[in-house]
Symmetry: C2
Subunit: 345 residues, 2 copies
Amino acid sequence: MKKTSLKDIAQKAGVSTALVSYVLNGKEKETRVGEAIAHKIKQIAKEMNYQPNHLAKSLRSGKTHTIGLIIADISNPFFANVARVVEDEAKKNGYTVIIGSCDEHAEKSWDLLNVLINRQVDGFIIVSCEGSENQVHYLKERNIPFVLLDRHFPEIQTDFVATNNYKASYDAGVHLIKSGYSRIGIMAYKSKMYHMEERVRGYKHALRDNNIEFLDSWLKEVHFETMDSEVRTAIDEALASDQQVDAMIFATYGLAINALKYINELRIKVPSDLAIVSFGQAEVFDLYYCPISYVRQPLEMLGKTAVEFLLKKLKNPEEGMKQILMEAKLIVRESSKAKTATLSG
Amino acid sequence: MKKTSLKDIAQKAGVSTALVSYVLNGKEKETRVGEAIAHKIKQIAKEMNYQPNHLAKSLRSGKTHTIGLIIADISNPFFANVARVVEDEAKKNGYTVIIGSCDEHAEKSWDLLNVLINRQVDGFIIVSCEGSENQVHYLKERNIPFVLLDRHFPEIQTDFVATNNYKASYDAGVHLIKSGYSRIGIMAYKSKMYHMEERVRGYKHALRDNNIEFLDSWLKEVHFETMDSEVRTAIDEALASDQQVDAMIFATYGLAINALKYINELRIKVPSDLAIVSFGQAEVFDLYYCPISYVRQPLEMLGKTAVEFLLKKLKNPEEGMKQILMEAKLIVRESSKAKTATLSG
DNA sequence: GGTACATGCTTAATCGTTTAAATAAAATTT
DNA sequence: AAATTTTATTTAAACGATTAAGCATGTACC
């Protein structure tokens, strides 16, 4: 029992496939199809439960109504949620999303890109990973529409939707200072990615603007791949030295999780021994015995806007370049509460 | 600068598209293409960076090399991870996956199914939600290949890959009993889904086989949609009554998370006030001040096997029905440690 | 009554592949 | 040398849709 095609309907109605196509695409008026026939065609289409073949449509039109979404790390709940938003938003507009995670590997990202290009996606939304600049250039050269999400390359002119990471980190730093912490560290990925540099920069400026001298030993940079062990070392160092920190900003969700596990093991008390503010958002932060203060990025808006930008570009390739930085919001919880309160402890 | 097609290559090589197709599909031998020409064609294809058009291929062959993955709830990290496994495994076999989450709504699942059928996916892997039996029947009738994952309907003959939930829950119950708990409750979704019933059944039998009389008030069933508030009520009831529980099994990850948040608020101590074993697996359980014992389902194997079953069926539609129940493993942590140890507290 | 236009429908090309069947040329057999 | 087989290549239909162009009609106008 094959799917019914235009031909089947045409045959049953005794007309050409052209008429059927016109009618079912709502072009009866422009193409002057007889009312009686039009009605008959619609009737038959319904009876036979006609569903157009997307492949054929796409082959003809060159449009697949599919978006490729390449995510740097889908195991990060922030990105997982962004992916959901993108998917929902796309579906609302009649688009299907194909998701791929490159797990922070540029080669994997490259493979994905090619697979999806071959699948004829109409455009891309990309959370770039380190070393994927060439891919961005490639897309630009080939004139394939795309929007960068959450991470972007300031030296490459592209559409992007991202968070103001500098500001977010600055705010986090100021918040800790105002809460009475003065020896504030930051843990970040060892990375040349702009969003990461911005987070470190914001933190440093927060210290500077509050007359706290930044110490090199307060910046802990770890490699993504060997995070598990490096985080432990970093925590050990941050707490053991004579430049011991009393608060720490975690530049990503993954770093925070790893650190918290270790901190648990060490029986270090948050926030009395160590105050914490983390980027990223996740249930985990609510569930920790001492709820974690975090930087809430405008997840929904990021996803929605990225889709919006891309679809606009798909509809009109001449559309101008769109770039937007959205503000994050610092959610203050127990893990960074004012130090005075813990002086008694 | 259009993509190069078979035609372009044919033109440049001065041959017909047929030859090009044969050569590039490795059918030179069967179709006896001249060696010189074959070589020339390959050469040109490489030079022009030929990438076949999947749409055209699919239209012709009726195969899209795409799998539809419908997940009951992608916000559940267990399912999110299963999705990753399925995706990776599919990709290894040259398949692309289109994921959709129905958020436990049968209608949404129905919509997804249709969207994906229209997109001509070759087959489905489905984590069914309540009330979607008709969809399973529909697929069977229309002879669309599919494999049910994690949840199945015992009264419908289908391929499936799932966990032995009865056994898992039974083990969890026995473990708690052996650890000295005797007033053991269970929190589950109010649902007619088989996997949920099995979890309750296993728990009950664990009690029965250890001469503990099951009390109705120990079974807390909450609705998925209104989980947030109902979980609180359930916890209140479980702890306040004269039939107060000293341990609790959570039949899903979501329930556990919600309950733990509330338990935190109430300042209830785990496990001294309440021991806990939960289904599902997530970082959260590691991070809780008292790491949570949980039932680890064979996530990787489930996903891989589902893909394997489906691909076999796609390759050979006559393939027999495949059903498998995999064993879960109880991971014992602090949250359910032997009661004697806490008698002093 | 001839030209012009409106109406209602069909034809056929096209998108990029695959592949059975046809064809032509060369090699082998009778 | 004719018949047959093998080898190398082309032709053309098909997948399922879209759409410009063509072709009959009928109606209106001068």
